[in-house]
Amino acid sequence: MKRVIIAGVLGFAMLAMTGCASSREQSQSEWIGKTRSDLSSEMGDPKGAVPMTDTGGEMLFYSYQGHHYVFETDADGKIDSATQVR
């Protein structure tokens, strides 16, 4: 069991280092306050949409014109977090 836990911790540490090395996230503040309908109008359907049970919002993952984005909406369907990840 200890070996499993140690291996897991080491694995996560490596993931973190890899993730940080490749991190090129950029905030997309111009999308803040817009609706997910606005998003659909411009970018179409997301490649992933996960409802957020606790907030009533959504996480939306988009691939659009060669770039990748992650948006989070609030309970009102308005975007309160927008990041270009690639």
Binding site: D45, P51, D54
Partner: protein, 572 residues
């Protein structure tokens, strides 16, 4: 009114006789003159009335005073009435007069038309002004609607599934509101709706959110019929139908610390039926709640608690470095009434050492702790405390490492608990009839063993879980899975109730509102089948009475459950 008449026309005039009403004599004269002259002008009969050539022609009229008749020629008994210059009765003059009168009438009509046109222009102008006023009113109307829309939001979240069991067995529910029969019912299958949220959000003021979310639940259980009169009754309709009940109902204020620090901006206070700090958050982190439950939710921890909490992110330079949620709650769940004079506390702290640009992004470490008591009234008999963990303390803890990227996520979780997994939790899908007291079956000994191992007031739980997903690039498909290893009581040697649960499948994102998944869900009690002596069971709690020498619980390891699911999620 009496009729006025002039008898005859040109023929009567030629006879020199005209009848006139006496009382309107003077008016008749004038009319008669005009008519006569017009007639004479047209016929040339006026020769006898004409004077010499070159002189102004005259019309001389005579009257018989006895009869009142007027004549154009002198005669017996007639006296001169009047002489009228013909020029005065010139047809041209009359025509001119008529023309002048017509012209005047035309001018009058034109004036009226002009006036009407002017009025029409004025009305058109007024209409234009009115249209402008209406146009000015419209934005206000729109503003009202927009304002209303900004204050109110409605949504729904529906989970549905079809499931087929190649092997059935006792165990916890794979999803809330679904149940499957125990061993011996292979090929059981069912269509289900396991969630149907109706999300109502109201934003009454800046920073305030009111959420009301009813959700379905299955009305399992049997109730006696209602007596109806002295000799009649009505059967119970509690037939396992789907009903609605309150899942969330809380008021949230999300500007608690906005003035204190930018780092605490967005932190909130919630009160009511609120999401507890772990379950809903972990469901969001995992992302596949529509397929399977997260570990502590699968075991025993409800996703909603009545209580009060404070929660929020800690952000520095737009990066989230921590996320916390702590509160005090009823010991009861949201679907039971509170019986205790104590409360439970729960708290979760998630740390993102490298900062998260979006929720869950990157490496995170989370710790959760819950301490509470069984939902039992204070005056409950103390003699049951050893047999019923509900009267002892309950503790749940979880330590997690998680990493979330755009296309994949991985969660490793270690669980630890005290008295946090009862027979009721183990058999939430189905269990032996003996456990529920509805019948005595071949599982009677197994049922008692389960009670002794899990509800002795000193049970210690431990578990290890892995959850993750991987989105296949350029496709709408995502692979996902959950593995859970759980020991319901670490104090039991080779506990026959130790189990592993694994779920694996593929999800298809149809559009932003619809997801489907096909997956396999399995519950495996992994120890080899064996017997457990009753005396060993009694060392945990005296569930077997009388002599236990040489007696044992046979087939102590429950049968595995294997099933295939097709899941659906509708989110709007």
């Amino acid at each position: 009114m009496r009729k006025k008449w002039i008898r005859g026309g040109a023929a009567d005039l030629q006879n020199g006789r005209i009848s006139v009403n006496r009382r309107r004599f003077s008016y008749a004269i004038a009319a008669l003159a005009g008519a006569v002259l017009v007639a004479l002008a047209g016929t040339g009969v006026a020769r006898a009335q004409s004077s010499s050539a070159g002189a102004t022609p005259m019309l001389t009229l005579y009257v018989d005073p006895a009869t009142g008749q007027v004549f154009t020629r002198p005669g017996k008994g007639r006296s001169l009435l009047t002489t009228i210059p013909a020029t005065a009765l010139d047809p041209n003059t009359i025509e001119r007069h008529v023309e002048e009168k017509t012209q005047a009438q035309l001018q009058q009509n034109q004036q009226q038309l002009f006036d009407l046109e002017k009025k029409n222009d004025e009305l058109a102008s007024q209409n234009h002004q009115l249209a402008q006023q209406v146009a000015e009113i419209k934005p206000a109307w729109r503003d009202y609607i927009t304002n209303f829309q900004n204050k109110f939001a409605v949504g729904t979240l529906v989970y549905g599934d079809y499931r087929f069991y190649t092997h059935t067995g006792f165990g916890p529910q794979e999803l809330t509101q679904i149940n499957s029969p125990g061993p011996g019912n292979n090929s059981f299958n069912s269509f289900d709706i396991s969630r149907a949220y109706l999300n109502f959000f109201f934003f009454p003021a800046d920073g305030f959110t009111l959420r009301v979310t009813p959700n379905i639940y299955r009305g399992d259980g049997t109730a006696p019929a209602d007596k109806f009169g002295s000799s009649s009754a009505i059967g119970s309709n509690l037939s396992g139908g789907m009903n609605y009940r309150l899942k969330y109902a809380y008021l949230q204020y999300s500007k608690v610390f906005d003035r204190l620090s930018d780092a605490l901006k967005g932190d909130s206070i919630q009160g009511g039926f609120i999401p507890n700090p772990l379950v809903a958050w972990e469901e969001d982190l995992y992302g596949y709640r529509y397929v399977n439950l997260t570990p502590w939710n699968y075991l025993s921890l409800s996703s909603t608690q009545p209580g009060l909490s404070i929660a929020g992110p800690i952000k520095i330079n737009e990066k989230q470095y921590a996320d916390y949620d702590v509160g005090a709650y009823n010991n009861s769940t949201f679907h039971a009434f509170e019986q205790t004079n104590t409360k439970q506390v729960m708290g979760r702290l998630s740390v993102y050492p490298f900062g998260a640009k979006w929720r869950f992004q990157g490496l995170g470490a989370t710790f959760f702790y819950d301490y509470g008591y069984g939902n039992v009234a204070p005056d409950s008999p103390t003699g049951t405390s050893l047999l019923n963990a509900k009267t002892g303390h309950i503790m749940r803890a979880a330590a997690m490492l998680h990493y979330t990227a755009e296309n994949w996520g991985l969660i490793a979780e270690y669980d630890f608990g005290h008295n946090a997994f009862t027979g009721g939790n183990l058999f939430s899908s189905s269990g032996p009839a003996d456990y529920f007291g509805t019948a005595t079956t071949s599982y009677a000994g197994f049922s008692k063993m389960t009670t002794a191992f899990l509800e002795n007031g000193n049970a210690v739980e431990r578990g290890l879980d892995f959850m993750g997903h991987y989105h296949i690039p350029t496709t709408p498909f995502t692979l996902f899975g959950t593995f859970e290893w759980f020991q319901p009581n670490t104090k039991v040697d080779n506990d026959p109730l130790d189990f592993q649960r694994w779920v694996a499948g593929i999800s298809y994102q149809y559009n932003e509102y619809l997801r489907f998944a096909i997956d396999s869900q399995n519950l495996m009690f992994y120890h080899s089948q064996r017997s457990v002596s009753e005396s060993y069971v009694n060392s945990f709690a005296p569930v077997f009475s009388g002599s236990t020498a040489g007696k044992s619980v046979t087939d102590a390891v429950p049968r595995d459950t294997h099933a295939f699911f097709i899941n659906m999620e509708i989110n709007y």
